[in-house]
Subunit: 192 residues, 2 copies
Amino acid sequence: MFDQFKNKFPVNEQKWNDYISCFKRLEVPAKTTLLQEGEISKKLFLIEKGCIRVWFNNNGKDVTFQFFFENSTVASIESFRKEFPSPVSIETIEPSVLWWIHKKDIDRIIEEIKDVPLLRDKLINALFDRTFDYMKHFFSFIKNTPTERYLNLLQEKPQIVQRIPQHYIASYLGVSTVHLSRIKSKISKQKQ
Amino acid sequence: MFDQFKNKFPVNEQKWNDYISCFKRLEVPAKTTLLQEGEISKKLFLIEKGCIRVWFNNNGKDVTFQFFFENSTVASIESFRKEFPSPVSIETIEPSVLWWIHKKDIDRIIEEIKDVPLLRDKLINALFDRTFDYMKHFFSFIKNTPTERYLNLLQEKPQIVQRIPQHYIASYLGVSTVHLSRIKSKISKQKQ
DNA sequence: TGTATTTGATAACAAATGTTATCGTCCCAC
DNA sequence: GTGGGACGATAACATTTGTTATCAAATACA
């Protein structure tokens, strides 16, 4: 699991083994809650197999915010960093194999790698990229219609459309399940 | 202008003078374009007086994305960092007094301060905060109705409602000018 | 394999929001 | 001062999207 990341981390063998030994394996069924809205996030998850959604309760309605697949890390980033109650819940969609690491270990590792210029820049770049991602996603909410957002999703993240139940996708796109159904039916009629 | 920031920058007098001498003063009328969509951003602006909006052209429609007031810095952050063509334009709303600095100077300064742990952490924190801001703004688009978004704006950023022409606010909130007008009229009727 | 649950499509109707047009007011440049 | 443009309110109508309900198909699982 971790070998694929090894060449990206210019640290010595001992450090590397120290770091990866902080991760614990976890096998869970679908619909397992990994973090409950309101809790303070203490764990970062790495997905070996399966997928995860981040969602929140909006007046009783379940609104999905993000999806994560294999080889991604997941945490309620604001809660994890600032030790705030998390505004979101984290839940598996499929039965999943995960690796998790405790915040105190991550904090130590980040503290250590911040002195390695290459890794420090990588961290900063990752933060920039995360910001751009939010910006882009947000842009598409202002700029595009729900139909356009769905077409973009099909093109840019086909994995989501293929693997994720439609009602999660609907709230992710900001529309009702009924409307997403209408959008799909309209598109398939146009193609004919 | 710069004295207010001085105590936040633990660098020696010489460095400090070097840094602030990179900024040039600029006085411009309202509706001045500081960066055109499609250009590569090379300047970072600091606002001494006035306000600025960041917007983009969406099929001929002018969509405002962000507002900035006194003591804020403004740039097309993705374009500035990655030297991409900017997806947004930057324009003054009011007649403004600005200070700008060239990208090459900023890059040098960031490179230098990255070795000062305190400033390095500040930079990283600033990036986290920026990410949270986007997330929060985005959340409100999914979570709230346009009316709720307007009420939040009134409460959290009254400056925007007071100083910015309404049609810019409408596109910022993701509604038509007519609908924002309806929202305002509905609210004022409820208060009576 | 059979049954319950989840998922998705569709119809009918309701509510929210956009579009176009018109009008009044304010303000700035001449 | 005054004429034109920017700004904002409002009405009438069109379109989009949500809501509720129902049914069919797929899937999970005992």
